[in-house]
């Protein structure tokens, strides 16, 4: 079985103290169930996690680098979207 006949999966792991799943790497597997088992063998050998997600790499829709300007630049000149832009009235002690 050549690797190119298999599906590529991305692996996300939540560590014991972690609140969210973090991307840790990828692997090849026949199906989702097998991917989950291989993720256990490849990425949690040293008790790194208590929860694993796998997702087919093909199913991830990713932003493209050549679209970065159109995607992100429009936010650059909008400082009012940051909380720090506003002056806190004296009467508000904590926020």
């Amino acid at each position: 079985m050549a690797e190119n006949e298999k599906n590529l999966f991305e692996v996300f792991i939540r560590s014991k103290r972690g609140l969210d799943h973090k991307h840790v790497g990828s692997l090849h597997a026949e199906n989702r169930r097998q991917a989950l088992e291989y993720a256990r063998d490849c990425y949690t050998r040293r008790s790194e996690g208590v929860s694993i997600w796998v997702v087919k790499s093909n199913d991830i829709c990713a932003s493209q680098e050549d679209q970065a300007e159109a995607f992100y630049d429009p936010s650059d000149d909008k400082p009012y979207r940051h909380a720090a832009y506003y002056q806190l009235p004296d009467s508000v002690k904590n926020m």
């Binding site: 079985m1 690797e3 298999k6 692997l27 090849h28 597997a29 026949e30 169930r33 097998q34 088992e37 291989y38 256990r40 063998d41 490849c42 050998r45």
Partner: protein
């Protein structure tokens, strides 16, 4: 029927089970750097480590009965083939992946029920080792079962290889379900598992999996025996040569 001192018998029983684990663990370790692809290779190596860990616990326990203070290393490295009492199925060469994974299925199915029984043993150490090993075995079985179904019901080539593996392993299952005088005595004492009782359920579970895998249960009944008495296939000597070489050429060497 020969009568044994219970402590000595328990020690021998622990060594037998340790031998099963060590030899299979070593066989599986041979896949390291030879696996079909990286992910599966890691999975096989992890399984191998589970078995080596199990062997260490069992040998260490056997050492506690030893008057001369034997250690796990003495059992693993300082005995010759005739002193090993593993079931023969564990020592057969890995063959192709079909053979390896079919053997795992035979053994995993056996272990699931065997360890469940052993975890109820009156010997608390054996019971504790079994309780730990059950968790590993549940994972092993999920893997071997999935693979057997996938490859049996796969391509023509994979199906043929699986059927061939099944046929050539068939006679090696018999030994696992037999007990000798020593085990009979320990069964009476509530320490050992009566493997004879596990045969029907094993057969049933295997047959369900084989049906799903479109494989044919072999009809020809043949049996190879001798492991528990120290009569081995020619393969065990070759394993020991490789496994014991470093320890014997440099006794007492430490990492």
């Amino acid at each position: 029927m020969t009568s044994f001192d219970t402590k000595q018998a328990t020690q021998e029983y622990a060594i037998r089970l340790g031998d099963d684990s060590l030899i299979l663990g070593h066989r599986l370790s041979e896949w390291c750097s030879n696996g079909p692809f990286l992910e599966e290779e890691l999975a096989l190596s992890n399984t191998s480590l589970d078995y080596l860990g199990r062997a260490r616990m069992l040998y260490s326990y056997a050492g506690e009965f030893s008057a001369t203070g034997k250690t796990e290393d003495d059992y693993a490295y300082m005995r010759d083939a005739r002193e090993f009492h593993n079931h023969l199925i564990h020592e057969l060469p890995c063959g192709d992946f079909a053979f390896t994974i079919t053997r795992q299925l035979f053994i995993d199915l056996f272990n699931i029920d065997f360890l469940k029984q052993l975890s109820l043993s009156k010997d608390v150490t054996l019971a504790a080792i079994a309780a730990k090993a059950i968790k590993e075995t549940q994972y092993h079985l999920r893997r071997s079962k999935e693979w057997v179904i996938q490859l049996g019901d796969g391509t023509k080539e994979s199906h043929n290889r699986m059927q061939k593996a099944l046929d050539s392993l068939w006679g090696y299952r018999v030994e696992m379900f037999e007990v000798d005088d020593l085990e009979l005595q320990l069964i009476d004492a509530g320490i050992a598992v009566d493997s004879r009782q596990l045969k029907n359920i094993w057969q049933q579970q295997l047959s369900n999996i084989l049906t799903e895998a479109t494989l044919t249960t072999p009809s020809e009944d043949w049996a190879v025996r001798g492991g528990r008495e120290g009569y081995h296939t020619e393969n065990l000597g070759h394993i020991l040569t490789e496994m014991q070489f470093v320890h014997r050429s440099m006794p007492g060497l430490k990492w």
